[in-house]
Amino acid sequence: MAGTSFLLYQKRNSWLERWDPRMKIIAVLLFGAALLLTHSLGLKTAQLLLLIVLWGVAKLSWRVLVFTLLSLSIFFASTMIYQSVLTAVPGEDMITWGWLTFSAQGVIRGVMMCEQIAGIVLLLALLVRTTSPIVLAEGLEMLLKPLKKWRLPVHEAVMMFSIALRFLPILIEEFDKIRKAQLARGGGFHRKGVASRFRGVLPMLMPLFVMSIIRAKDLAVAMESRCYQGDEGRTPIRIYRLQRSDYAVFSFSIVNLAAIFVL
């Protein structure tokens, strides 16, 4: 259950949940761009701290935040090794610590890269965890509406995206159930060597794959039986209007992006 609750949107009545989905998506894009473009360690750190503050404002679990960051530890470790040890440029300040020699500038580059990874992941986690999939899909569809002029299937693409998002926790639960079922008839293979455990992967993936297809087929039938015919003749159930806070979020995102060129 911990795995599924990590991905699920849960209503917490936070300020972030009240933001317009369109503005939220734009803000995420602008903030992400600022995070990637800035070369200042201070600014990147400030942006990351702001995201952590927003995590608190969104009333999200701190345990989930720690879990999210810890799950990235392998990326952090490999990034730090790559930046400070493997790509050290001659002429940089080299630090020797025991048998290990690494570049001081490389460490800063590594820290910046790690902050970038953590920032992007937190940004997306904030977006997904504070916006219900259906609202997110509607926001995305409204933003991509101009592409319909070129006959691009925006509605269908967004619907697929929203279904995929909603399927993730279901698939995780399904996987947990299949895992337990296979452990129950596995004769204790999971307590034996690596080869035995490896053999146990197929019995879990195959039923999951089959179940996903069955579920997708059932969903398609259910949608068709409720007269779903794509975008044709559909009217929105919710009307979105931008509020003052949405403009404030947009303005802040622009200022944040502009700051990297000024500072």
Binding site: K180, Q182, G187, L202, P203
Partner: protein, 293 residues
């Protein structure tokens, strides 16, 4: 193998583990002894803790408080998880967990890490297939995905039976099966219980099914055992029926009616009357009393 639950409580919430008394518990202070060779049904509304209870018996979950003892040993405390291998667990719709290209490979999955020779594996698979009444020569090379729903379920059960469990736990085993397959499944379970002495425990919402096949019924409500006893007695108890929102099973209602009419002696619990038998008995009674309807 005897299973004993000693003051078992369980909560999924980590925060409240130290305070089960106040926390949102799923199971609360359960004490139970399951003797070897029982045919036991577990009933209760959705969310009453049935699945959690079964997962504790299989060792998928460890109790927050209290202990689960298998043959007098607490596998969690004694660090002997292999003891749980003696408990076979069949989830709902087990046919969804089939994966191999042949029935033989699917059933033999659990034997792969047992270090058996091919001949030994074949002998065990043969035995398991015979136990679930699947002909070895006919089905061994078939794809499990080409079989009927009932046959698939038998293959999945054989995959657990092949490990020679002493206790077999089934979560709603008859869900989605037709009447014929349901009857065949229970014939199978009774056979394993009678011939191999396997303890069979299953979750069911079908009172008729419980009445016909179980020798013991445990009724769970909000994480507690509300009743434990013979299904004939428990399902005749109007207080219990009302507590669960159940209706008296027709077979019991007919028996009660026959008792009131004097066709059956009161206190007879072991015999269940089918509607056909009951109508014949009532016609016989009316005939004897020369009453014309």
């Amino acid at each position: 193998m005897q299973i004993r639950l000693d003051h078992v409580s369980f909560t999924y919430s980590r925060r409240s583990r130290k305070k089960v008394q106040q926390g949102p518990y799923v199971l609360k202070e359960l004490d139970l002894t399951i003797e070897s060779g029982e045919m036991m049904a577990i009933a209760g509304k959705s969310g009453s803790g049935k699945s959690t209870f079964l997962q504790l018996l299989k060792g998928f979950l460890a109790p927050t408080e209290g202990s689960v003892l298998l043959a007098g040993i607490n596998p969690h405390q004694a660090r002997r998880p292999e003891l749980f291998d003696k408990v076979g667990f069949i989830f709902q719709y087990p046919e969804h967990q089939l994966f191999s290209t042949t029935v033989f490979d699917d059933i033999a999955f659990g034997l792969q890490s047992a270090g058996l020779t091919d001949a030994e594996k074949e002998a065990k698979v043969r035995q398991a297939m015979a136990a679930v009444q699947l002909d070895y020569e006919t089905f061994k090379d078939c794809s499990p995905f080409e079989l009927s729903g009932g046959e698939k379920r038998r293959v999945a059960i054989a995959g657990v039976v092949v490990l020679e469990p002493e206790v077999l736990i089934l979560d709603e085993p008859t869900a989605g099966l037709d009447l014929q397959s349901r009857t065949a499944l229970f014939d199978l379970l009774h056979g394993m219980n009678r011939e191999q002495g396997i303890t069979v425990m299953w979750v069911s919402h079908q009172l008729e099914e419980i009445l016909a096949h179980a020798t013991r019924l445990i009724a769970l409500k909000e994480g507690r055992f509300l009743a434990d006893g013979h299904p004939h007695i428990l399902l005749s108890d109007p207080v219990l029926l009302e507590a669960f929102g159940w209706e008296e099973p027709p077979a019991l209602a007919i028996t009660r009616l026959l008792q009131e009419l004097g066709v059956v002696e009161k206190g007879e619990q072991s015999r269940l009357w089918t509607p056909q038998e009951a109508s014949e008995a009532i016609i016989g009674l009316l005939d004897r009393q020369r009453i014309t309807v």
